[in-house]
C-alpha cells in the first residue's frame, strides 16, 4: 500500500478551504444585481385559500415582485413529482396528488408556500412578506398517521388519505409457518419522525440570461443532474440543455438535499420573470417547516420461532406517513428500501410485510440517512433481542443460531446477499466491547445506584443503489448507474469528472487515491470535478452509500479505457506491438526489454500526436464510462451499546460503544471511520433525543433547535471501531459502502441496551430522561445482579 493509495488514511484535499473559511456554499455565491426571495407560508396545517391580497406588499420599499400560485399556474409551470411508482396489492397505481411549487387554492401543511416576495434586500423582502394578506378557511387537520384513513380527505385523488396499500412476501406461507411456531414474539413499534438538519440550510440562487435564454441554478443539492432532469422534464421550467444546475460546496445532506423542492423551482421562475438573479436561503425555522422529514412509521411486528430458537417466519404491518405531498423518492422508502431488508442477517424462510402509505397535513417525508433500512433494522433487531429474552437465550446466541452462513443467499424479500461473515463481526465486536466483563461492570454500576444494560444490533443494509434493471422493475423512474470521465491532460495531470456528489464524504480525496494508485501519479496531480451539469456528463448523485460502490466503479471502468488507449500510444512511441506493452507504477514498458515511457510522456504524445497518424489512432487521452452495478452491495456488522441509567433522573448515558463493520474494501480508513462516527451519532440522536412533534392541529411544536434536541458533544461517547472484510463481489473494487451503517445500526442497539437495563420492553424512541424515568416508575426493574 502506497502512502496515498487505496487503504491509506490520506488527509483530505478539500480540508484547506474549509478550515480557512474559503469554502463556497450556495449562499456564499453572489451574482450582480441579485435580489432576495422570502416566502409567505401557511400558518395552518389544512386550509382553503379564500383570497390573497398582495397590494400593500407590492408598494413596500425595495419590492421587485410578489408572485402567487395563480401566477405560477398562469405561466404553466408544472408540479413537483415523485419518481418511483408503487402499485397497491390490488394492482392500482399510487395516488400521487398534485404538488405545485406555490399552493393553488389550498394549503396542506404548516409552511406550505403560498406566495413569494422578491426584493432588493433580505430585510425588505421580509418586511413586505408580512404585508401579504391571505384569507384562509381552516379545515380539520390530519396529523396522526395511524388515524389518517378516517380523517378529513386531503387530496381529491386519494380517498381515505391512502397513497398505496402494498405488500411483499407470501402471506399464506407466512401464516402457515406462524401456525406451526412454538413461540411468537410480538412488538408494537413507532419509528419516530426525524428532522435531518444538515447544518447548511437549503438555498437556491437562480439567474436568467436573456441573451441565450439560459437559466442557471446554484443549489444545495446532492444530485444536480437529477434536479435538472426533474425541473426540465416534469416541471417544464426550461429544456434540459437550457438549464444548468451547480451544486457548489454543500454543507451536509443526509438525504434531505436529494429532493427537488418548491423553492428552487420558484427562484428559477421568478429570476426569468424579473430578469434579475433571485436568491433564497432558508433559515432554520423554515428548514424545520419545509425540509423533508424522515422515518415516521407505526408498525406491528411478529416473529415466529421453533423450540430451538430457530426463526420460522416474520410478519410485519406498517403504516408509513408520507406527509402532505409525495416527495421525490418518498414512495420507495417504506417499500423497496424497507421491506426488502426485513430478513436482517438471518435465514428466515418466510416473511410477509404490508405497508400502507398515507397522507397527513405534515411536511413531506422522504429518505433520511439509511432511508427504510434503519426502520427495517429496528424492527428486526428489536424482535430478535426480545425473542431471545423471552426464550431465556443470550441475545448473541439466538442471533448466531439464525445467521445466514452460506452465500449467495436468497431471502424471501427480493434481496440476494452475495458475501458476508456475520459471525465474524459479532465475535470481534464482543471481544472489543469486552462483553465478558459486562456483568462485573453492571455490578459496579449498581453499587453507584445506576442501572446498566447492554444491547446488540447486528444489522444489514442494501447499498450501492442500484442495478438499473432491478430498480426499474420495482418502479424506479430512473436508472441508478453512475458515470465518470477521466481527462488526462498533455502534462500528465488528471481531472476526473464524476456524477457522484460530495457534501462531506471526501470524494476529492478518496477518488484521487484510486486514480493516483492506478496511474502511478502523485495524488496532487489529480482533481475531482463534480456538482455542475455544464461540466460533468450526466450523473445520478450521492445517496444510499453509492459513491464508492457505484461512482468509483465508473472511474475504474474509465481508467481501464484510459490505460488501453495509453498503451496504444506507448506502442507507437516505443515502436513495439501493443500487446507487448505493460503498465505498472506509472510506467509503460515493453515486455522483455528495457524500453520504457513514463505516464506523463505518453500523455503528451497522445496530444501532440507526432508518433502516429490519425488513420492509426485518434489523438487525445480522455475516456468516459457509465457503470451499472450487477447487484446491490450488503454492508453488515455488529454494534454493541452499553448504557448506564440514573434511577433518580432517568437520564441515559452511553458509556461504551463498539462497532465492527464489514464495508468490503476500505479506500480511506480515516474517512470511513468518520462516516461511522457520524452515523452512530444520528442513530443515537433518534434513540435518545430527537423527535419531530406536531400538535393535534398540525402545528409544528419542534420548530427550532431550542425545541428539537440535536445530539451535542456531551451527549455522546467516543466510539470503539473495528472492521472485518468480505469483498463485495459485484463491483471491481469490492466496496460495499459505509455512509449509512451507523444510523441504521444504532437505534436498535441503544433501545436494546435500555430495555435490558430497565427490564421492560415498553419504551419508545426517543428514550428521553422523562420517558425512561416514567418507565422506571411503571415497572419494577429486574434485580441488579
Amino acid at each position: 500500500m502506497s502512502a496515498t493509495g487505496i487503504g491509506a488514511a490520506v488527509r483530505r484535499k478539500e480540508d484547506f478551504r474549509f478550515i480557512t473559511g474559503k469554502g463556497q456554499y450556495t449562499d456564499d455565491v453572489v451574482r450582480p444585481g441579485e435580489t432576495r426571495a422570502v416566502f409567505v407560508r401557511s400558518p395552518h396545517a389544512h386550509a382553503k385559500i379564500a383570497k390573497i391580497d398582495a397590494s400593500a406588499a407590492k408598494t413596500m420599499p425595495g419590492v421587485v415582485a410578489v408572485l402567487t400560485g395563480a401566477d405560477l399556474a398562469g405561466d404553466k409551470i408544472g408540479n413537483l413529482i415523485c419518481g418511483w411508482m408503487i402499485h397497491s396489492k390490488d394492482g392500482t397505481p399510487m395516488k400521487m396528488a398534485p404538488h405545485p411549487a406555490l399552493a393553488s387554492g389550498k394549503v396542506n401543511h404548516v409552511g406550505d408556500a403560498v406566495a413569494v416576495v422578491v426584493a432588493e434586500t433580505l430585510g425588505q423582502a421580509r418586511d413586505a412578506a408580512e404585508k401579504v394578506k391571505v384569507d384562509y378557511e381552516v379545515l380539520p387537520a390530519v396529523v396522526n398517521p395511524a388515524k389518517a384513513k378516517s380523517g378529513t380527505q386531503i387530496h381529491e385523488i386519494a380517498p381515505k388519505n391512502t397513497i398505496y396499500e402494498w405488500s411483499l412476501g407470501d402471506a399464506k406461507a407466512t401464516d402457515a409457518a406462524f401456525a406451526n411456531a412454538k413461540h411468537v414474539t410480538k412488538l408494537d413499534i413507532v419509528n419516530n419522525r426525524l428532522a435531518p438538519i444538515a447544518m447548511e440550510p437549503r438555498a437556491a440562487l437562480a439567474e436568467y440570461d436573456a441573451g441565450t435564454d439560459q437559466l442557471t441554478l446554484w443549489n444545495t443539492t446532492q444530485n444536480p443532474h437529477v434536479s435538472r432532469l426533474v425541473i426540465a422534464a416534469f416541471v417544464g421550467m426550461a429544456p434540459e440543455h437550457k438549464l444548468r444546475v451547480i451544486a457548489p460546496d454543500v454543507g451536509g445532506g443526509f438525504g434531505s438535499k436529494i429532493f427537488i423542492y418548491p423553492e428552487e423551482v420558484v427562484c428559477l421562475w421568478a429570476a426569468r420573470k424579473v430578469r434579475r438573479p433571485v436568491k433564497w436561503t432558508s433559515d432554520r425555522m423554515e428548514a424545520f417547516l419545509t425540509d423533508a422529514h424522515g422515518r415516521d412509521h407505526v408498525t406491528h411486528a411478529e416473529l415466529a420461532l421453533d423450540a430451538n430458537g430457530k426463526i420460522l417466519a416474520m410478519r410485519v404491518k406498517t403504516i408509513a406517513n408520507l406527509g402532505a405531498y409525495m416527495s421525490t423518492f418518498s414512495s420507495s422508502v417504506p417499500t423497496y428500501l424497507y421491506a426488502t431488508l426485513l430478513s436482517g442477517q438471518y435465514d428466515i424462510p418466510q416473511i410477509y410485510c404490508e405497508v400502507d402509505a398515507v397522507y397527513t397535513n405534515t411536511v413531506p417525508v422522504d429518505a433520511y440517512r439509511g432511508a427504510g433500512r434503519p426502520e427495517a433494522t429496528f424492527v428486526v433487531e428489536r424482535l430478535v433481542e426480545v425473542a431471545a429474552r423471552e426464550l431465556g437465550l443470550e441475545p448473541p446466541e439466538l442471533r448466531k443460531r439464525n445467521f445466514v452462513k452460506s452465500f449467495p443467499h436468497q431471502t424471501p424479500v427480493i434481496m440476494a446477499y452475495d458475501a458476508g461473515d456475520y459471525n465474524a463481526s459479532l465475535k470481534k465486536a464482543m471481544e472489543i466491547g469486552d462483553v465478558k466483563g459486562f456483568n462485573k461492570r453492571k455490578r459496579e454500576s449498581a453499587r453507584n445506584g445506576k442501572l446498566r444494560g447492554i444491547g446488540y444490533s447486528t444489522y444489514i443494509e442494501a447499498c450501492g443503489l442500484a442495478p438499473s434493471q432491478a430498480a426499474g422493475s420495482l418502479g424506479a423512474g430512473v436508472g441508478l448507474w453512475e458515470s465518470a470521465e477521466v481527462r488526462v491532460n498533455p502534462t500528465g495531470s488528471v481531472e476526473v469528472l464524476t456524477g457522484s456528489h460530495s457534501h462531506g464524504q471526501g470524494h476529492e480525496t478518496t477518488f484521487a487515491q484510486l486514480v493516483s494508485q492506478r496511474l502511478g501519479i502523485p495524488i496532487d496531480n489529480v482533481s475531482i470535478v463534480h456538482g455542475d451539469t455544464d461540466k460533468v456528463q450526466f450523473g445520478m448523485g450521492t445517496y444510499g452509500s453509492r459513491s464508492g460502490a457505484v461512482g468509483m466503479s465508473a472511474i475504474v471502468k474509465a481508467l481501464d479505457k484510459v490505460e488501453a488507449k495509453a498503451k496504444k500510444v506507448a506502442a507507437f512511441m516505443l515502436e513495439a506491438a501493443e500487446g507487448d506493452i505493460e503498465f505498472k507504477d506509472g510506467k509503460f514498458t515493453v515486455a522483455g526489454t528495457d524500453k520504457s515511457a513514463a505516464f506523463g510522456d505518453v500523455a503528451l504524445n497522445a496530444y501532440i500526436a507526432h508518433k502516429f497518424t490519425g488513420a492509426e489512432l485518434e489523438p487525445g487521452l480522455k475516456e468516459t464510462s457509465f457503470y451499472d452495478p450487477t447487484n446491490f452491495t450488503f454492508p453488515a456488522g455488529c454494534h454493541i451499546c452499553e448504557v448506564e441509567i440514573d434511577r433518580e433522573t432517568g437520564k441515559t448515558d452511553i458509556v461504551n460503544w463498539t462497532a465492527v463493520d464489514d464495508f468490503g474494501t476500505v479506500i480511506n480508513p480515516m474517512i470511513v471511520e468518520g462516516q461511522v462516527h457520524g452515523g452512530i451519532a444520528q442513530g443515537v440522536g433518534q434513540a435518545l433525543l430527537e423527535g419531530v412533534v406536531y400538535d393535534a392541529n398540525g402545528q409544528l411544536v419542534t420548530g427550532s433547535l431550542m425545541d428539537y434536541t440535536m445530539p451535542r458533544a456531551h451527549d455522546l461517547p467516543s466510539f470503539n471501531l473495528g472492521f472485518t472484510e468480505t469483498k463485495a463481489p459485484s463491483n471491481p473494487l469490492g466496496i460495499k459502502g459505509c455512509g449509512e451503517a451507523g444510523a441504521i445500526a444504532a437505534p436498535a442497539a441503544v433501545i436494546n441496551a435500555i430495555t435490558d437495563a430497565l427490564g421492560t420492553e415498553q419504551i419508545a424512541m426517543p428514550a428521553t430522561a422523562n420517558a425512561v424515568w416514567s418507565a422506571l416508575q411503571r415497572a419494577t426493574p429486574r434485580a441488579a445482579a
Binding site: M670, P711, L716
Partner: protein, 166 residues
Amino acid sequence: MPTVSMTVNGKPVTGDVEARTLLVQFLRENLRLTGTHVGCDTSQCGACVIHIDGIAAKSCTTLALQCEGAKVTTIEGLAEANGPLHPMQEAFREHHGLQCGYCTPGMIMAALDIVRRRGNDLDDHTIREQLDGNICRCTGYHNIVKAIKAGAKAMAPGGASRQAAE
C-alpha cells in the same frame, strides 16, 4: 443609515448599515467574509462563532452596531495569507475533525475560546461540555474532540507549532 466602524482581522473597516443588521450579515454581505456561517436563528448551533475583542461570540445574535470600535476576528483572520495554518486549523485537518465543513469555522473559533478559558491541557470531558454551544451533524464529535485536544496542546508555549492566534 448609521455608520459602523470596527477592526476585522486586523484591518479597519467602515460600513453604512441598517440598525437591524447582524454582525454576521455585516461580515458576510458587506465585507464578503463568507467563512462565518449561519446554521440556525436561535443562537444554538455556533456556526457563526467569531471573536470580539478576543472573546468568542455568536455573530448571529450580535448587532453590527454593537461592535463599534471592537476588534473582530473571523476564521479568515487566523492564519496570515500564505503563512502557516493556525495550530487549531491544522489539528482539525490532521484529525479529520470536519466533513462537510459548514460548522467548522465556528468549531475552530469556539475551540480557541475553550483554550483561552481552560488552558492547553484539555480532557475529553471538558471539551465535550465546553462545546455545548456548537452543533455538528456530520462527525459525531469524536474527531472534533480529538482535534481540539491536539490543537490545544500544539498551541501551548513550547508546543509543536506555537503561533499567536490573534
